[in-house]
Amino acid sequence: MIRAFSLAIALTLGTAGLVRAEIEIQEVTSPGGIDAWLVEDHSIPFTALEIRFEGGTGLDDPDRLGAVNLMTGLLEEGAGEMDARAFQAAREDLAASFSFDVGADTLSVSARMLTENREAAVDLLRAALVEPRFDPVATERVRGQVLSILAQEAQNPRRIAGRAFYEAAFGDHPYGRPDNGTPESVAALTREDLVAAHQAALTRDGVHVGAVGDITPEELGQLLDELLGDLPESGPELPGHVDFGLEGGIEVIDYPSPQSVAMFGQPGLKRDDEDFFAAYVLNHILGGGGFESRLMTEVREKRGLTYGVGTDLVPLENAEFWVGSLASANDRVGEAIEVIRAEWDRIARDGVTQEELDAAKTFLTGEYPLRFDGNGPIADILVGMQVTGLPPEYVTERNALIEAVTLEEINRVAAERVEPDRLHFVVVGRPEGLAQDAAAGPEVVLPRVLLPAE
């Protein structure tokens, strides 16, 4: 039986609130008990499917770093009766598009399939998810590609900064480890490691699905069982919470480049923290809002010290932090960092103005509905909400949560949660006149492998 629960959702758009977009999110449970969210739209003959498995590279055995990443790369490299080329030829003949990616918290599968041959495309994707072959020849080829990327990332200042930042912030927790592995660990991975990673990372109890496009709830229900019904029910326990472990200071990693790259950050807020929305708006004003943010105004527009500077409030599954990045010439990065520190200080001390708060609310509430434009983007939003644990109603309530933030509240949160003394910078390059603080702790040696930082 298909249990399709419909919820009509009206998104209020723009400041005047005159224009309304309606999308209808249906909660679908397959006959086999797999849940998904669906938005039907029959105007273009294809379906976008976004699937997330909880766990991601966080499931890597510390002695087998990079196993989940290499396994993910091999999902499209042969399955069932087909070797890699036969699999890809079959996919291309159906004009279906599959992509597989893995991050610190989730393994994601994105698929687009034409209505005219959807059943065959689902069969093919099922084979990739349930029966990957891990053929030796494909494994060696993809291993070579991963090693090539690791070598490239070891020369990329952004990656070097990100890796050092996360390693120092999270230590032995999976977030602190190189999630694509090291050249040594990747070279040592065996077929058994890949099979174990597959069994652990693709399980039914941690799966979330968003579907948008030319498909009915009944059709989606059948699709879910065919696609995911044969996966293992459950996998190993997921990693636990970790505190952001960096204290304030500056550390410098020498790298020959005309420009220095800096990553900076401090502790953040959990997604379900009652102050989260105030902090989210605050971040927009400080460094999240493109040209309009204080940091862009002060560092780029007024002083021309950078092409881009920005901040983000990051609530991961198991850690929360404020993070920013900047690139600036070696002889100017010191000044740029001084300006950022001064802005961190100013917003903690003086808060924001009513005008800034109003402008931020107008932007954030106006911009939100603009994200729902296209099957692919909507499917991505649906699955992201499920991973975060938000209900479908959130899309109608979200703007009210932004509107409810008061000046008093946001300035209290600025005073309590913005911590200039804990703002930590990792600078990669040959910065001039930038003293490494004593507080920075032991110098980080150049890491060989790096976490996704951006």
Binding site: V19, I44, E92, R141
Partner: protein
């Protein structure tokens, strides 16, 4: 999962955001008009979401800059976010943001485009502001100086810090001896440092005019209503006489193979690039470009089933990646490029020989019907998927109309691609792959210098 190396050059943006390139064409709900002052208007309807994108495309890019002033068109693009008669510096973007929208701009060799994405009912305000900055820019020396520093940092970030980008820049300079496509869109650093009010103003005065622009409005709009709004906001601007003709210096025949070796300690693994000058899509005459597009797809469009992947990656097992690229959207002659990333332990010499052998064998045997069918399926499906992004369609039309093509050319392109024959693919390849007209570049870390 990022396993493939990106070897293609992106457009230059005012903000560090990533531009989505449109997939090839579809039949769209497209309506076109031309205002009395020459402004072309393209309306693309998509009523799925109450959103609209306005894009104003000027037919001026880096290849239209005077000699010695590379980067002027891109510099000007940055300055259009500064003051005008009625808007303070920064007020344009602040107003877009205050209306819940986002905006940006980008410059290429052939065009400069500005866009905003907002709720559909905000279109009149966007038009009023965009029209304002077409003629009423107020350039100040202070704004120019500050923005120059921003652009220097942009070049540092995009190019100087990126050995792949530096290599492509050198490759491009070697490809074009005489045509301004040989210079980078962002400009050479020593010329960016010398650009001033006069160079930037010259581009603005000569090219920013209604008769030199295409306005694309895409999203939840009705064509007649958009036309009325465009008449109101842009229609009153006078037509400008004497718009410069876009006649750039053309390439002489290439009579000798060109070879470069770029060494940089920041390169992690050696690779090989090969380029050939190739004809672009011309209005009413797109057939050879269509054949070249299919050729690039067959040689390098898939990491698994393309000719180069099959031969170099799977059969001979000497490469991690092998690709081919061709984009026919260009005002003047464009390039067809090939790339090989050898496996560690395989020399670049061997990789190059294998590449040439694979090309020769392909031209000898021609594509199989299976290969042709697979590419046709891929291109046809790309059209269906492309309809999911109205912004992508807007870019497709804006770019085409800024590069000498018409709406009709865009509309017939998908069918043209489907009609390309195996014989035409071979013919296009034979005309293209002449060793005397090749440019070959090796990119290596210092210590491994090319052999």
């Amino acid at each position: 999962m990022l396993r493939r190396l990106a070897l293609a050059a992106p457009l230059i943006l005012a903000l560090p955001a990533v531009a989505q390139e449109a997939a090839p064409a579809a039949d769209d709900a497209v309506t076109t008009y031309t205002l009395d002052n020459g402004l072309e208007l393209v309306v693309i309807e998509d009523h799925r979401a109450p959103v609209v994108t306005q894009m104003l495309w000027y037919r001026v890019g880096s290849a239209d800059e005077p000699q010695g002033a590379t980067g002027a068109a891109h510099f000007l693009e940055h300055l259009l976010f500064k003051a005008t008669d009625d808007l303070a510096a920064g007020e344009f973007s602040a107003t877009v943001a205050a209306n819940g929208g986002s905006d940006n701009a980008f410059t290429s060799t052939d065009y400069t485009a500005y866009f905003q994405r907002v709720a559909a009912d905000r279109l009149p305000l966007m038009m009023a502001m965009e029209a304002e900055r077409m003629n009423d820019l107020r350039l100040t020396d202070a704004d120019i100086e500050t923005e120059r520093q921003v652009i220097v940092e942009e070049r540092n970030q995009r190019t100087e810090s990126n050995p792949g980008a530096l290599a492509r820049e050198q490759m491009n300079a070697a490809q074009y001896l005489n045509h301004p496509y040989g210079a980078p869109v962002i400009g050479w650093m020593h010329e960016i440092e010398e650009l001033g009010h006069d160079e930037v103003r010259a581009v603005y005065d000569a090219y920013y005019a209604p008769g030199n622009a295409t306005l694309v409005v895409a999203g939840d709009v009705e064509p007649a209503a958009v036309l009325a709004l465009a008449e109101e906001h842009y229609g009153a601007m006078p037509a400008e006489e004497g718009l410069p003709e876009r006649a750039r210096p053309q390439e002489p025949p290439q009579r000798a193979a060109r070879r470069l070796s770029y060494e940089d300690p920041r390169v992690s693994q050696p690779y090989l690039l090969r380029g050939y000058l190739a004809p672009e899509r011309d209005s009413g005459d797109q057939r050879e470009a269509a054949a070249l597009t299919v050729l690039a797809e067959i040689l390098g469009g898939s990491s698994f089933t393309s000719v180069l992947a099959e031969e170099l990656v799977f059969e001979r097992e000497i490469a991690l990646n092998a690709g081919a690229g061709y984009d026919g959207m260009s005002l003047d002659d464009t390039t067809f490029t090939l790339s090989v990333l050898p496996k560690p332990g395989t020399g670049l010499d061997e990789a190059e020989e294998a590449l040439d052998a694979a090309l020769a064998a392909f031209l000898e045997a021609g594509p199989t019907e299976e290969q042709m069918d697979r590419v046709r399926t891929r291109l046809r499906a790309a059209e269906i998927y492309a309809r999911d992004s109205v912004e992508g369609l807007a870019r497709r039309y804006g770019a085409a109309l800024s590069q000498g093509l018409t709406v009709e050319d865009v509309a017939e392109w998908p069918e043209l691609l489907q009609s390309v024959t195996a014989e035409e693919v071979v013919e296009a390849g034979r005309a293209l792959f002449d060793p005397d007209r090749s440019v070959t570049m090796t990119v290596t870390p210092e210590e491994e210098a090319s052999r």
